[in-house]
Symmetry: C2
Subunit: 241 residues, 2 copies
DNA sequence: GTGGCAAAATTGTCCGACAGTCCGATTATC
DNA sequence: GATAATCGGACTGTCGGACAATTTTGCCAC
């Protein structure tokens, strides 16, 4: 049964101010790139102290709605960068103790589709970027950290080539979660590196040739391999050294 | 070619402090539910002014890492709530002007899979919640706002029943973007309401009976309908009244 | 142990201040 | 005339202190 009265929570001034400015930004009344008035000026306009304004600004800054270009002093309205947003999401997921299986299922849902659209729509530049990360993996295959980073970048490149911001932004957080899991796995499962190398090659070719179906299928196999690898890793004893 | 020197960016004190505290939280050295020291105490520990601490805290608060239970004064370590996180993501996507097609493709990737796992793993309680939102849609089918909200909640309920936090969190932002698009569509495409009603029924039954494949298939049809509806809407003239 | 109460602590907000730095305009230089 | 050096103003980051409102705590009586 719903209560008759909702508890009223008084928002402190800094939050109210943050909300007001946020609404202006979302409503495009403040547009991307616009410079914000100075803190002193804002304090005057809102009729509060500068300290209060600063707290409000911090809020918007961490949301990625405000930022400053390097070396500049004044804040400007910014569009939240995918990297910033996704790192927040993956931190949240990490704190919720997501299992590898949960991560894997989500990857299985998203990555193949991204690959499929990437094959259909990639630009030459995107293809090139993708091929380069694949080459990087091949080159640095023995340096675990570099190899893992290359794998992650490969996924990112595929998502970027999909020309779908929603997919790309849904996919980005998965990468950050994948990295640690993959690091463990790649060291303990000998065949992992070869399989990844092969899969990346097949996927890259499919995307190059605009073969949507093949790109999706190979990406599916690729991801499925991760699960196999993870299961194998669980069986193998830790390397003790 | 790479520059010889990278630009050095000095992080202001409030950001450094925020980072330190954040790391402690992520590393579980500060655990969920723990109360944070008072601002004065933190200022002493970090050797900075209380104002600086406050700015740092605002940062962590908006990330959802700190929060306070209603009516309490002291801050405690909190796990970022999915709702909070996803609203940030969808705001970011909105500011990036995602198209309906992008949204649709992402839904098409995620929702059917969520339905599939929901059918496999839903608890009785989750099923009940899901059935209730379906019933709510049926009941309020003529109130556009309420109907749209019910549709969104139906998706949320399915994702929750999938027992996969990653999928659920990937799916949540899509809802917030779907709502406005759906509102326009449902008013202009007469058959939309009936189709949604039918699809929700089929999906609910499939999930009830643990029929994974059926759940996924029906969800696919359901989502596909959205695209059809969107195309029809584009053809139809706006209702002028 | 429980309830009640006064004292201490804490948060939200304000005020004023100052060093370091960025920006724009003015002036000096080639 | 174009460019380089210079200067003052504006702005941010940080500091110190202050105060009301409210929460938390410690204590006492029951």
């Amino acid at each position: 049964m719903a209560d008759l009265f909702a508890p009223l929570d008084d928002h402190p001034a800094y939050r109210q101010i943050a909300n007001v400015i946020e609404q202006r930004i979302v409503a495009r009344s403040l547009r991307t790139g616009d410079a914000l008035p100075s803190e002193t000026d804002l304090a005057r306009q809102f009729g509060v102290n500068r300290s209060t304004i600063r707290e409000a600004i911090r809020e918007l800054e961490t949301h990625g709605l405000l930022g400053r270009v390097r070396g500049e002093k004044r804040l400007r309205v910014t569009r939240p960068e995918p990297g910033q947003v996704s790192s927040g999401v993956s931190r949240a997921l990490a704190l919720h103790d997501v299992t590898f299986l949960e991560l894997w299922e989500a990857m299985m849902a998203i990555e193949p589709v991204a690959a499929q659209y990437a094959a259909a729509r990639r630009t030459p530049a995107q293809l090139q970027a993708l091929v380069r990360t694949a080459a990087r993996f091949k080159r640095e295959v023995d340096d675990t950290a570099a190899a893992v980073s290359a794998v992650v970048d490969f996924f990112t490149a595929v998502a970027a080539a999909s020309a779908n911001q929603v997919l790309a932004l849904s996919q980005a957080p998965l990468n950050l979660l994948l990295a640690p899991a993959l690091t463990r796995m790649i060291d303990r499962v000998p065949q992992a590196r070869t399989r990844i190398l092969e899969a990346q090659g097949k996927i890259a070719v499919a995307i190059k040739l605009h073969r949507s179906e093949q790109a999706r299928t190979w990406m599916e196999k690729h991801i499925r391999d991760f699960k196999r690898g993870h299961e194998l890793e669980a069986l193998n004893p830790k390397r003790t050294e």
